[in-house]
């Protein structure tokens, strides 16, 4: 099977449309960022970078938002935010009962986890049934459960039954966490678990309550850490880009390196704009996604540049824009295939990868498209424009591409 054969498009002739499109995308995205940050005094940063407290709760039933909001207000947490995350519902998880409670950084120098403890307190008093004085099965740890079971010995194993109960506790918590998403509503749900007998169920039902909520994730980031992580992420990325620029400049010419880096910047800026438009927050995982798209876009650009370098040697008569056009057309088939397949991969991840990967895969979905486009839409035109004003057909480069070192590499590969 073969698609895209013998394509002949004048890409460089359309460069001005590409630039217009890019400026448009950049404009829309950054106006949205401006609106969010400057006008609404919001932030693009997630908790990792801005600091604060975030508690991710799963309820057994539909979350009683009003009651929760009231409880938080009564506890003096007026500046807390409540967000149901059913809107991030996906193919994978059918649970619509998740709520994220956010709390901004408090200015005072109180203990780091004050906010979290207050939120937990509200949840406990509003929705907990700890009044019975029994521990909650939905929040018990495996080791505590194992200890408890060993003490009560529902299987009547006598002494030295620790290992058996350890295993049993592991099976029980695994069933709770994997099969029921962390929240068991009826102890009979556990009857299918390996090693469980009616006596165990009875013990559990008698000695444990089944709380109406479970904490899925709790994050507290101090202000110092937030700014530190921000700095580090930015600098690591800039160093990485610098490294790429130097390598490409060494292998090609510096203008190729500069063009590739500008294209990558363009991709990151547009992706950030989309983040703002679609109300995603920038977290550490998103940084990883941005780095991935940097790598991906760079890869795409180099493939085209590589072909340009090769064609410069083969095509002595054509103009530079023609050579670039030809190179893009020649690699188009691979570009579309690779991008298409990568796009497919991240799309599956976006649809099925779960809530934690949502922002990450969103960045990738946008990034793959923008990264592919920028290779021929931005990076290549920059080199062409540069070439128009400086130097003719770049003979120097041809020489360098055919250097002795390179021939050795090729020869080694052939061997």
């Amino acid at each position: 099977m073969e698609l895209f054969r013998g394509v002949n498009v004048d890409w460089m002739g359309k460069a001005k449309y590409f630039v217009t499109l890019s400026l448009l995308l950049l404009g829309i995205g950054w106006i949205s960022i401006y609106y969010r940050v400057v006008v609404k005094h919001g932030t693009l940063y997630g908790i990792d970078f801005r600091g604060g407290t975030l508690v991710y709760v799963r309820f057994a039933g539909p979350p009683p938002m009003d009651k929760l909001r009231k409880g938080l207000e009564q506890a003096g947490l007026r500046n807390s935010t409540l967000q149901g995350i059913s809107d991030t519902e996906n193919l994978g998880s059918k649970n619509k009962n998740d709520v994220v409670i956010g709390l901004e950084q408090s200015g005072s120098d109180e203990s780091l986890d004050t906010g979290k403890q207050k939120i937990l307190g509200v949840l406990e008093t509003t929705f907990g049934n700890s009044s019975a004085g029994l521990p909650d099965f939905n929040s018990v740890s495996t080791s505590d459960l194992a200890g408890d079971l060993t003490r009560r010995d529902p299987l009547l194993l006598g002494t030295n039954a620790g290992d058996r109960y350890n295993q049993l506790a592991q099976h029980l918590t695994a069933a709770r966490d994997s099969d029921y998403g962390g929240i068991v509503t009826n102890s009979d749900q556990l009857s299918h678990v390996q090693g469980v007998t009616p006596a165990v169920i009875q013990t559990l039902a008698r000695d444990y309550t089944l709380g109406g909520f479970t904490i899925r994730d709790a994050e507290i980031v101090g202000p110092r850490v937030g700014s530190q992580l921000r700095h580090q992420a930015v600098w690591a990325t800039l160093y990485a880009l610098g490294g790429m620029l130097v390598y490409i400049a060494f292998r090609f010419e510096w203008v190729y390196g500069a063009a590739a880096v500008i294209a990558v910047f363009h991709d990151v800026l547009i992706t950030l704009g989309f983040f703002s438009l679609f109300h995603y927050e920038i977290s550490l995982t998103v940084i990883a996604a941005l780095l991935t798209l940097v790598g991906y876009s760079m890869n795409d650009t180099i493939v085209i540049f590589d072909r340009v370098r090769e064609n410069l040697r083969l095509m002595k008569r054509e103009s530079f824009p023609e050579i670039v056009n030809r190179s893009i057309n020649q690699t188009l088939s691979r570009t579309i295939l690779t991008s298409g397949l990568t796009f497919l991969t991240v799309l599956v991840l976006y649809l099925m990868g779960g809530a934690v990967l949502r922002a990450f895969s969103f960045a990738m979905v946008v990034g793959v498209v923008v990264g592919t486009y920028s290779s021929f839409g931005i990076a290549a035109p920059i080199v062409v424009v540069w070439n128009k004003y400086h130097g003719g057909r770049q003979q120097r480069m041809t020489v360098r591409a055919g250097s002795a070192a390179e021939k050795r590499v090729v020869a080694a590969a052939r061997r």
């Binding site: 073969e2 994978g92 998880s93 780091l112 979290k116 929040s139 740890s141 709770r176 966490d177 929240i183 904490i215 899925r216 994730d217 507290i220 980031v221 992580l229 580090q232 690591a236 990325t237 160093y239 990485a240 880009l241 490294g243 790429m244 130097v246 390598y247 550490l284 995982t285 940084i287 990883a288 780095l291 991935t292 940097v294 790598g295 760079m298 890869n299 180099i302 493939v303 590589d306 090769e310 020649q330 691979r334 295939l337 397949l341 990568t342 497919l344 991969t345 991240v346 599956v348 991840l349 099925m352 779960g354 809530a355 934690v356 990967l357 990450f360 590499v409 090729v410 590969a413 052939r414």
Partner: protein
């Protein structure tokens, strides 16, 4: 098949076997296979669930403490050497001001500082007559910071190990020189562990000079506003008050120098308190050397009806009259519950922190979220891999199978290297894996498209494959080296998640060069050696 090709396949087979062994070991049953994989592929907290804490060591405290000790020691020495002076004052954590030294003794003073206090540089204080300023040397400050950090790390490690938590990580964060990272897999509620980590654990047994007073000013007033040298006022709870009564704090005047400190402990244990039913106490035993010292002290004090205080983290827990000689044991009471007594005993056994700590970051991933992330991540990866592979086979036919083999081997090598290196797979690491797969697909596509081009240009199978690989080789090297260069920078300058990304990426890309060029080429060569020279290539 020629000999060279044969060796290529032998090498590939060895790599494959090493990888399989690296990931699954030598299992004898399906259950064991699962266990082996879980053992070898280390999952990060974000996938496994657990608590992640970052704490900051208050290094200034340790430096300030050294300054305080120097002030005390210098005062003592000046008295001993009969060098008259007006005042010794700590200016800040690293500076001491000594004023109005007798003009006849200034050289003796300088000699004393230079010979006995090598940690300090001495200089005339500005605007002072016969006044000197001592400044802590930068090398000493650096050394104090370093030893404080190391001691803190060791102490926290001992405490966490004593808590019996599995596979904890305790390390410097690397992003700032005063931070320590503690990761506790499987711990859903870090509150208890946090308390144990944070407890100062500085135990002192000291002589009581006077007290109790109901307030600090009252204590000071008794001495006319100036405490006797070598003493300090510390808060404590009222002696007569039981654990439930809250009579407010009381204050004692105590010796600064302790007779016995936490370092002299041989052991500490929690047990029920005989005095208060239902209450708990911590009993401790002293080392032999300390026991001798303590015995002499208590004997002297018993004769004159002296008192002694148990001070924990600069708080008086108990102050009692010494009735007789005490050899090597003591106890701390103070309304402990069973749990808090056990925690304190653990902290005392593990040793004191050299400086207090403050939490900067706390993340807890519940086990159900981790389980969901793994399940959803793995399922998404498998589905997308299958889609990609089906497409490759449809589009490139037999050559597509070739690419699929290369991709699978690439993943195997990646997983095996992570297992061998003990690297941790995190969510950002999965991002690295995705980029690896993307570039793996790309490498194959590059080669195949090149071969197709050569075929279109009229070449027969063998030379077309040859040229295709050669041409694509340079491109693949360029794209991969560029990305590896960036990943190395990310590893050097990034932390935590960014590093996890970089590690998987570097391993994946190196594996990719091997599979998409070496392995894929070998399979092609094998095909070519079997088929007729003019036959069509399935691509």
């Amino acid at each position: 098949m020629n000999a060279q090709l044969k060796w290529k396949f032998v090498l590939i087979l060895i790599v494959l076997l090493l990888c399989i062994f690296g990931v699954i070991g030598l299992p004898t049953s399906l259950a064991q296979l699962r266990e082996n994989v879980a053992d070898r592929i280390h999952l990060g907290l974000d996938l496994k669930g657990g608590s992640h804490l970052v704490l900051q060591v208050q290094l200034q405290e340790a430096i300030g403490q050294h300054c305080d000790e120097t002030v005390d020691e210098l005062t003592r020495q000046l008295h001993a050497k009969n060098i008259g002076f007006g005042e010794i004052r700590r200016v800040d954590d690293t500076h001491i001001l000594v004023r109005n030294i007798e003009s006849t003794s200034t050289s003796a003073f300088r000699d004393l500082v230079n010979s006995q206090f090598p940690d300090w540089t001495i200089s005339p204080a500005a605007g002072e007559n016969n006044g000197y300023e001592l400044t802590m040397k930068p090398s000493v400050i650096a050394e104090i910071r370093q030893t404080t950090m190391n001691q803190t790390l060791e102490t926290i490690t001992r405490r966490i190990n004593a808590l019996g938590l599995t596979e904890p990580t305790i390390a410097f964060t690397g992003r700032s020189d005063d931070e320590i990272l503690v990761q506790l897999p499987g711990v859903g509620d870090p509150t208890a562990a946090k308390e144990v980590i944070r407890a100062g654990g500085q135990l002192q047994l000291v002589r009581v000079v006077d007290g109790p007073f109901s307030s600090e000013p009252e204590a000071l007033a008794k001495y006319g506003g100036v405490l006797p040298p070598g003493t300090a006022i510390l808060p404590g709870r009222s002696e007569s008050a039981g654990p439930s009564q809250t009579t407010g704090p009381v204050y004692y005047v105590l010796d600064k120098a302790a007779i016995v400190t936490g370092q002299d402990l041989r052991n500490a244990d929690a047990g029920p308190s005989p005095d208060s039913p239902g209450g708990y106490e911590v009993d401790f035993k002293l080392s032999t050397a300390a026991a001798g010292r303590f015995g002499t002290f208590t004997e002297q004090q018993a004769a004159i009806g002296g008192r002694m205080a148990v001070v924990l983290d600069r708080q008086v827990y108990e102050a009692a009259t010494i009735k007789s000689r005490i050899e090597d044991s003591g106890r701390i009471t103070g309304g402990f519950s069973e749990q808090s007594a056990q925690d304190l005993a653990l902290v005392l056994r593990a040793g004191a922190l050299p400086a207090s700590i403050k939490y900067l970051e706390e993340r807890t991933v519940g086990p159900s979220l981790g389980a969901d992330s793994i399940r959803e991540g793995v399922r998404a990866s498998i589905v997308s891999m299958i889609v990609v592979m089906i497409f490759l086979v449809i589009y490139y036919r037999l050559s597509g199978v070739n690419a699929v083999v290369a991709l699978i081997l690439n993943l195997m090598i990646l997983l095996a290297c992570m297992a061998y290196l003990g690297a941790v797979l995190t969510l950002p690491g999965i991002a690295g894996v995705i980029l690896t797969i993307g570039m793996g697909v790309d490498s194959n596509v590059l080669v195949f498209e090149r071969i197709r081009e050569e075929l279109r240009n009229g070449k027969v199978a063998a030379p077309a494959v040859d040229t295709g690989f050669d041409r694509a080789f340079l491109t693949i090297i360029d794209t991969h080296v560029t990305t590896v260069v960036s990943a190395i920078f990310l590893f050097l300058f990034g932390t935590g998640p960014v590093r996890g990304f970089a590690v998987t990426l570097v391993i994946g890309l190196i594996a990719n060069v091997f599979t998409s060029i070496y392995v894929s080429r070998a399979i092609f060569d094998y095909h070519l050696s079997k088929m007729d020279r003019q036959a069509q290539l399935s691509i």
